[in-house]
């Protein structure tokens, strides 16, 4: 099939955008914002084009571009998307598009901020569309690293009163400062990368094909003996980014300290890279290994769900609440993946998209509230609904998605995962999953009540509602949430096609 190189364009648009932004004079207020917006807009249009043009009846990887890079080592520039990555490309495009608008009001080093943001997003797109493990890893690192600067330079610090027996230690390592958060996040993710690199290189070696090409490796059956110890390595490596317990603590600190758009991208998209990696590299290339270890994946996922929700309940800092809710929701993603059946995996991928958009919305809103009220402590808030009805409405929509209210996309995802969970070998996973949804309702509504309801605090009588470009982000994201909640099949259909292909690898492996 002849087509113009859509995927390369999707990669190029943010990259060129980053370059162009970098070379703008720094006093050009509009130019450094409009260029990223246009770059993000192009990717958005292209990703919607992909979604429309993807041939569901054929399935498989489409829009393939293949040029050898280093043939001696079997490295090539190989791009392509299937339903799963398609959904995630779609998600990324939405988040970056809205993220650009959500950070419109950043005044400090705007140019550098947008440059890094676009570079990061180039990496994310790269991971989702590359069909070559070498390229995959390259983009993965590109996606992980700009975060260090984004948090370290534009982040916000918060004084945490040291308490308890570890008080001195906590003070000395600087818990709560943006530098601490940036360093923690980066070190954690590089720790994961080390595992991934080992995993990918071992796959390359043991397959004996002398190629990093995903499709060729996919067609090849890796020796089950290797799969057994390779899968946990890959799982831990990607799992760090997906926030698996107990390697999740970078996420609350990182997301709380990061600037709005960075939190949106990170919680919304980057955590999905981890889950995507587990499914794509871990499960698709190593079905035997996955089957062997799926009990661990699922158990940790259920811990994530319940533990994340309960921890979120304890938090009094709005950003931490949202961050812990991400930990909880990533548990649902991983649980869906661990079910290894059609509804579960469908739900897992759908949850990646849904949670990405939802958490993007929530972080955008938290950013707005913080910017206007200058506090993240929910106990200091109250009655905001009166002064910022718009933000309250969108916050409610985000919160309701989070607790899985039907009619919004979160429900579809969670419900599919639950359907899958009961049919998995470990049926009892269903119970903590559903309970987690209840706990989510408790902390989400509690937070909403404390922030927006209740008597109005006169201290905030000049609190403004969202303005101008900020509405764009909120409206677009909520619109997608509702759209996906009402007509999920527009996205679920291509996902389903790809999930079935993945599951075909498990034929004869699963009991």
């Amino acid at each position: 099939m002849q087509h113009f190189p859509v995927l390369s364009l999707i990669l190029l648009a943010p990259f060129l955008g980053a370059l162009l932004t970098m070379f703008q004079p720094k006093e050009a207020y509009y130019r450094v914002r409009i260029i990223p917006a246009i770059a993000a807009g192009i990717t958005l249009i292209l990703s919607i084009y992909l979604l429309l043009k993807y041939d569901r009846s054929i399935g498989g990887f489409q829009f393939i571009e293949h040029y050898p890079l280093i043939p001696q080592l079997g490295i090539s520039y190989h791009l392509g998307v299937d339903g799963m990555s398609l959904a995630l490309v779609f998600l990324t495009a939405f988040i970056i598009f809205t993220g650009v608008f959500a950070s419109w009001t950043i005044l400090e080093r705007t140019k550098e901020f947008y440059t890094l943001l676009l570079l990061l997003v180039t990496g994310v797109f790269g991971v989702f569309v590359s069909l070559d493990l070498f390229l995959f890893f390259l983009f993965y690192e590109l996606a992980v690293l700009p975060m260090y600067l984004l948090i370290g330079v534009w982040g916000s610090s918060k004084y945490i009163k040291p308490r308890g027996i570890f008080a001195r230690m906590i003070q000395e390592v600087g818990v709560g400062t943006k530098e601490y958060a940036a360093m923690k996040l980066t070190l954690y993710l590089l720790f994961g990368s080390a595992f991934i690199l080992v995993g990918l290189l071992t796959i390359y070696k043991v397959s004996g094909l002398n190629t990093f090409d995903f499709l060729e490796l996919n067609a090849h059956k890796i020796d089950p003996r290797y799969q057994k110890f390779l899968f946990p390595i890959v799982y831990i490596g990607f799992g760090v980014l997906a926030g698996i317990w107990p390697l999740h603590t970078w996420s609350p600190d990182g997301h709380a300290s990061a600037p709005t758009a960075a939190s949106m991208l990170h919680a919304g998209v980057l955590m999905k890279l981890g889950a995507y990696g587990v499914v794509r590299v871990g499960m698709q290339l190593m079905p035997q290994g996955a089957t062997e270890w799926v009990w661990l994946v699922g158990t940790i996922a259920t811990i994530n769900i319940v533990y994340g929700a309960l921890s979120a309940m304890w938090q009094m800092d709005l950003k931490y609440i949202v961050a812990y809710s991400s930990v909880s929701h990533m548990g649902i993603v991983m649980l869906g993946a661990a079910t290894l059946n059609e509804p579960g995996l469908n739900g897992s991928v759908f949850q990646m998209v849904s949670h990405g958009i939802m958490t993007g919305l929530l972080f955008a809103l938290v950013g707005l509230v913080y910017e206007k009220a200058h506090t993240r402590d929910i106990l200091a808030m109250g009655g905001f609904g009166k002064r910022m009805p718009g933000i309250a409405t969108f916050f409610t929509i985000g919160g309701l998605t989070s607790l899985g209210l039907p009619g919004l996309s979160g429900f579809v995802a969670e419900f599919l995962v639950f359907l899958g969970a009961w049919q998995a070998k470990q049926w009892y996973w269903l119970v903590p999953g559903v309970l987690g949804a209840f706990f989510t309702a408790v902390y989400v509504l509690r937070a909403l009540k404390i922030i927006f309801w209740g008597p109005f605090n006169e201290k905030y009588k000049d609190l403004p509602d969202a303005i101008g470009t900020e509405w764009v982000a909120l409206a677009v994201l909520s619109g997608v949430l509702i759209l996906l909640g009402v007509v999920p099949f527009i996205l679920l259909h291509p996902i389903d096609v790809s999930v079935m292909e993945l599951l075909s690898k498990f034929k004869g492996v699963l009991p």
Partner: protein
């Protein structure tokens, strides 16, 4: 598209359109009145359409169903959404649209003091509420019921918390959501498990399968029990009833809507809707009967001592819902649904009338009212009509339906439910007339200057009052015709029990005597004051305190929420996360940093000293290499 399809869409779409328009076109909503009129117009359209639909469906019962794919699968059957219209659904649609339109019209008067923006929001929620409830009613699959079920919950949350700046309203709203959500955990689990074993959510298919005996009894019992938890939450059955009295914090018309036709009716409707499934799970049926009858009695006793007029009505709602559940539990869809039908009218009426009183008095406390019959003649009359209907005095609507339930319960041969049911008749009559006498006839001077409510409020009240009078004898035949057969199906299943018991002919007379006895007692205590209620209170102090504290159910719930969940588990988890999981991470950081601080002493900056290190290392390596 055939006529039923068109009509169903005509019922469902107007509230949705009204919601979407009011929701998205912000200036329109902020204007208040236009939003209100649009919403009312929409629900009236739905009402008319539902009447025509009911007429069509009752003429040829169907069932009609049609569906679309919602979630595609390859290994499994796709999950569908669609509509399933039979007489049950059609009649429920009429009830919902009728009560909803009455409430919305009435609200124009009741909410007249609200600012425009807030009024628009109110009607936007109302439209969504109506749509959700109508959607639930017409659903063709369990999943779809669940979807609308949750939307109903959302709307009640929004409407109860409508005056969100009032802390009590905010708390009541989240409490309602959480409690019903807890029940929904069961509901969700139930339908997931059921799907895993049948591969479908579609009602017709499920009915077919269960008839054919393709679902294992154990699975059916398990899933139906789980689903019933959902119904317990929504229909406020013990012990998940705690949210309902608090829900009085919302505007009174909302209470009327929630209590009469939408939220709480959803649970009963759900059980009636999937009754073919329940009828094959006998153990669950028995459970339902016990829970229902116990709830009826339990709530009635609490209602005896409430001093807030709306709370009395709230507990009476719980009590009546208990009746409905009990009826379903003993296998009579007809009795349960008929009571739901009549109850919708007189409970809505009672709430609207109570709202009218509150609107005039600006208080909820019955002891601050008195002799209101004179200034508020119309309200008093309709309130008494409602009360008589609720108390089950012939020929008012409640008599027919409640009588039917009691007969069925006694017929079932279960002793305890029967006793509960009969005792509740007496209690109901007593506590309702307590309110009537205290508020409308007692000798106390009312505080302030009560006045009759405007016509926009009394109009709907009169309309509902008329229905409360006639609905019973007018529609009994209809219900028997369409829903009687379900009971027969049940009878065959429970042959032994049914054959053993027979209903004594004096039963209706007994219930009538009990009701009149309750009225008489209330008259003696509160009107004639022949027996001093203060003395009674002092004499039965422990009982009084227990009832006043609502059996400490609220306190237990609060304890579970505050101390166990938020103050217990979450603190443990949060603490563990910060100090243990993250603590270990920080410890590693800290150790690294400390060891760095020690090792940096070696770096004295004199390059030559470093060279000694190099030589030393070289020697070491070579020695290692040699040996």
């Amino acid at each position: 598209m055939n006529q039923v399809q068109v009509l169903t869409l005509l019922v469902l779409l107007p509230p949705l359109i009204s919601f979407a328009w009011n929701g998205v076109v912000i200036p329109w909503r902020r204007a208040g009145k236009p939003a209100a009129w649009l919403s009312i117009l929409a629900i009236l359209t739905s009402f008319v359409a539902s009447l025509v639909l009911a007429k069509t469906v009752l003429a040829s019962p169907g069932p009609y169903s049609w569906e679309w794919t919602w979630l595609p699968f390859q290994n499994f059957k796709p999950i569908i959404v669609g509509f399933y219209i039979d007489p049950l659904a059609a009649l429920m649609l009429v009830v919902v649209t009728l009560v909803a339109s009455m409430v919305q019209i009435y609200s124009l008067g009741y909410m007249s003091e609200e600012p425009a923006g807030s009024l628009g929001r109110y009607y936007t929620y109302h439209s969504l509420f109506s749509f959700a409830m109508l959607g639930l009613t017409a659903s063709a699959s369990l999943l779809q019921i669940y979807i609308f079920w949750e939307l109903v919950g959302l709307c009640s949350y929004l409407l109860i918390g409508f005056w969100y700046q009032k802390p009590s309203a905010a708390n009541a709203a989240v409490k309602a959501f959480w409690t019903t959500r807890l029940g929904d955990v069961g509901f969700a689990l139930g339908i997931v498990v059921l799907w895993a074993h049948t591969g479908t959510f579609a009602l017709p298919e499920l009915f077919h399968k269960v008839e054919a005996g393709q679902i294992a009894t154990s699975i059916l019992a398990l899933t139906m029990l789980l689903v019933f938890f959902g119904a317990m939450g929504k229909s406020a059955q013990f012990p998940l009833h705690i949210w309902l009295p608090d829900a009085m914090e919302g505007p009174t018309p909302v209470s009327a809507l929630i209590h009469a036709a939408t939220m709480v009716a959803a649970g009963v409707y759900l059980v009636a809707r999937i009754f073919p499934l329940y009828s094959h799970a006998e153990s669950v049926m028995t459970f339902i009967a016990y829970i229902g009858s116990f709830t009826a009695f339990f709530a009635a006793t609490i209602a005896l001592v409430q001093e807030d007029i709306k709370r009395v009505l709230a507990y009476s709602t719980i009590s009546q819902l208990g009746y409905m559940m009990a009826a379903l539990g003993v296998g009579s869809v007809m009795a349960g649904f008929f009571h739901l039908f009549t109850h919708a009218f007189f409970k809505a009426l009672l709430f609207l009338a109570a709202g009218s009183v509150i609107h005039a008095m600006h208080t909820n406390d019955i002891w601050k009212m008195g002799r209101l019959a004179k200034p508020m003649k119309q309200t008093a009359i309709v309130f008494i009509i409602g009360t008589l209907a609720l108390a089950g005095v012939p020929p008012f609507a409640g008599y027919f339906s409640k009588d039917e339930i009691i007969i069925k319960v006694v017929e079932s041969g279960m002793v305890l439910p029967a006793i509960f049911a009969l005792a509740t008749v007496f209690l109901t009559a007593f506590y309702m007339f307590r309110v009537v006498f205290v508020v409308f006839f007692s000798h106390r001077e009312p505080e302030g200057h009560p006045h009759e409510s405007p016509a926009v409020m009394t109009g709907p009240m009169w309309f509902l009052a008329a229905l409360s009078v006639v609905a019973g004898f007018l529609f009994k035949g209809l219900f028997e015709k369409f829903f009687g057969h379900a009971a027969e199906a049940m009878e065959t299943a429970q042959e032994a029990a049914t054959a053993a018991s027979h209903v004594p002919g004096w039963l209706p007379i007994l219930t009538l005597i009990l009701a009149l006895g309750g009225i008489l007692l209330a008259y003696l205590i509160y009107q004639k004051e022949a027996i001093s209620h203060e003395r009674l209170r002092a004499q039965f102090r422990p009982v009084y305190v227990m009832l006043q504290k609502k059996y400490w159910m609220d306190d237990i719930a609060y304890f579970l929420y505050r101390r166990v969940l938020v103050g217990g588990l979450s603190v443990i988890c949060g603490w563990f996360d910060r100090y243990i999981v993250d603590g270990i991470v920080n410890l590693v950081t800290w150790l690294t940093r400390k060891s760095g601080e020690i090792l940096r002493l070696l770096q004295n900056g004199v390059v030559q000293d470093y060279l000694y290190g190099v030589i030393f290392g070289l020697i070491l390596f070579i020695l290692l290499g040699i040996f």
